[in-house]
Structures are given as structure tokens and as C-alpha cells.
Symmetry: C2
Subunit: 256 residues, 2 copies
Amino acid sequence: MNDRIWTAGLVVIGDEILSGRTQDRNVAQLASWLNVQGIRLAEVRVVSDRTDAIVEAVNALRTRNDYCFTTGGIGPTHDDITVDAVAAALGVPVVVHPEARAMLERHYETRGGLTEARLRMARVPEGAGLIPNRMSGAPGIRIDNLFILAGVPHITAGMLDALTGSLEGGRPVLARTLGCWVPESEIADILRAVERDHSGEGADAVSIGSYPFFREGKVGANFVVRATDQARLDACADDLAARVAATGRTIVEGGI
Amino acid sequence: MNDRIWTAGLVVIGDEILSGRTQDRNVAQLASWLNVQGIRLAEVRVVSDRTDAIVEAVNALRTRNDYCFTTGGIGPTHDDITVDAVAAALGVPVVVHPEARAMLERHYETRGGLTEARLRMARVPEGAGLIPNRMSGAPGIRIDNLFILAGVPHITAGMLDALTGSLEGGRPVLARTLGCWVPESEIADILRAVERDHSGEGADAVSIGSYPFFREGKVGANFVVRATDQARLDACADDLAARVAATGRTIVEGGI
């Protein structure tokens, strides 16, 4: 059971991402955080601020992953509909969480008081718990395997901090990066052969990604070997390094 | 018919995005480009380098949008499986495109010749056309309403340049941004009322997005009004500006 692979899905909610106005940062942030928890980000969907779109994506990703996260749409304004959409997806009503209400009352005590709009941020799907938010008044929300987080990246980061160590996961994915000033097409055969020779299933899997770049007027590529087992990772990466070196090329451990 | 809304889906293919190693740039790039063509990015899915994941996402997004784009996975190495996966999604075989083969032969004439690995980049789903690539040898691919683009952002950009003006669209979405040094919760009621008073359906729709920020030790928000009709856009934005100004606050046209 220790070797089972734990996965998560992410639903990024927001017209600002789909319009190109805002560059998403939460996919990379959540992916890196999840890996430390031993959980793999398996799929991301970016959807607009529409209930039907959120419901469909949340239901698809929560049922086929161990965990499902959402980012965005939990503020006090009319376009913040994530809580209502998630409640609809789960088939439960929306209620005011007494602890969230108390947190917001304290936060806004010296900031004009808890208005109707601000009270919206205490609304949760019935049965939910809270995720602390050190940055601003409104907490994140946890219900079943669903985690409803803020969209503003530094607030998202604070909520992830609060969750660190509280989710069950498996072994983190380990990676070694090897760089080389070579067109990836020239050593594609080596890459394919090495991956085939070291392939495994499930928690024993080893994969090689090839990521070309163009810098300083020259082409090169970084090869990222990924595995959960350190010995299998090193065996594959060492073999790749040796076979590339045998063609007379220089390998840069750690990547270029 | 001129008022119908044209939509596109995007499938971002790549373990490097899901692992957090690479920050995606293509969602924002494609979204901005599409808007100029009068097409809205309706949904994005980020999937791993697995055939079944790509097939599912491509089939979901190509059938419910006017257009479907993919980015990533069209290089010469073993982890580049987009062409095979798209062909599987469409139920057609993969063939070598003679024109793509000729382009690659010319490109690699002085670079070591067209090897087996490089010839992979001439493979297309049967019936496909090519999208020129000024940056490197391998072209993009167009078949039916599907556009298969490179993952490296500056190469993606070159392919989008080549497509500019060739896709039918509707009226572009116009936007006006109004900024204010105010917690969004303090004017949430105004936002809601203004959007309700100016709402419309389909091509007449007007929406307001509220995007809070924290800078220089103060909180503020930008309000983005979006519509396809200039008069309706201005009526809504002017009304919002007037109602916020009536509370004694200063509106910054163009945003903060």
C-alpha cells in the first residue's frame, strides 16, 4: 500500500485566466507543493466563472483523483461563485460557517464591520471545514476530498502552508536533470532505448522527458529523469549519461 | 449570424507543466491571440504525456467548441506522442506528410540530414494540412477544427502568426478596466447592482470581473467590464464609475 500512487486534480476558476488578462501561477505552485506531499498533479482544468462549467469539472476531477483542488472565486463579489457551484456539485446546501463568521468579524472589526458582502466569505457547502488564511480574512474550505483555495497566488500559498503535512500521500517523485548542448533529434534514439531499458510499472515507473531550448545562439536540451525510487532513478540517469558521453558529447549534471 | 459567439478549447500536453517544472505561457498567449480573432477561449485542460488522457481531452473539447488547439508533444523524441494521440482521437491512421518531409529535408540538409527520429516530425493524422513554422523545421498541423501547435512558447507564437486572419470568428470581446484603492468587499453591492442593470444575453452580454490586489501596503481592486458591443460596454463602465465616484472614491480609468 505504501507504493500506491496518490493523485490530485486542479480546477482553476476564472475568466481572467481564460481572457489572457492574468497569467496563472497556481498550477506550478500547487504542482510543486503536491510533489512534496507525495501526491501527483494528474490533470488541470481552467474553466470560466459559470456554475455549469465548475460543476462539471469538479465532479470529473474529484471522482477520479484522491484529491481535488480549486483556486479562485471565493471573494465577496458577485463573480465569486465557487462555493455555490461546489455545493451544487456535491448536492448539499450552502450554509454560514459559525467559525468563519467569527473569523471575519474579528478581521473586519477595525475595518468597517462585517457587511452582507463580506459575510458571503463565511458561506460554505454544508459539512465543510475551514483552511486557515493568515493573509486576509476569508478562509479556504475543505469538504470530503475537495479543497477550495483562493486565487491570488500569495494567499493560495498561505493556505497550502496551512495544509502541509495533513494530506496522506505516497513517495514523492524524485528527478535528475541532465543537460546537453545537442539538438534533441540527434539523441532521440538513445533516449528511447534508455527509457525502454529502464521502464517499470506503477510505483516502479521511470520516465524521461526531453525539453529542448535555444540559447546563446545554440540549441540544447534538458533531459529530466523521474522516478519514486532513488536506485531506479540513478540507474536510469547514469545509463543515459554514459550512453550520451559515449557519443563524445558533454553531459551537464543538474541541467543547463 | 454575425452575433454568434465563437469558442475554442485548448489542451496543454506535458508532464513538465503538471510537475511544476515549467511555467505554462501558452494559455495566456493563445487567449490573447484568440480574442483578436473574435474567438473566446472557453476551457483549458492540462494533461500528461499519456495517450488516453490526450484522447479524452481532445475529443471533449473539439466536439463542444468551434476550434480546438493543442500545445506540446510534437518534437522528435519518445515522449512526443501528440500526433499519434490526436489520430487515435479522430480514428484515422498516421501518415508521413510529403510536404512536411520536404521541409524537414531542406531544414536538416546542412544539419546532419533527415534521420529516423527527425522524420517523426513529418508524421500527421491522415488528411491533415500544415501550419508553417519559421523558427525550426517542424511544422504545426491542422485537421478539421483541430490545430496542433508546438509547446515552446516562441515557436507557438510563430505558428499563431501564420494562422492570423485565417479562422472565422465573431466580434472580439472589448474590455475597460477601472481601478480603485478600495477593498472589493466595500463596493460589492455596487458591482452586483451595476452588472444586473446592464446584463444581456449572448452577444449582448456585459460582465464585470473584480480582481483585488495588495500593493504599497494598501488593498485595491481592478474592475474589468467586458462586452462585444462598444456602446453597451461604455454604458456599463460609465455607470459603474459614476456610482463608485458617488461614494467619494477615486476611479482610475485603465486600472491600477
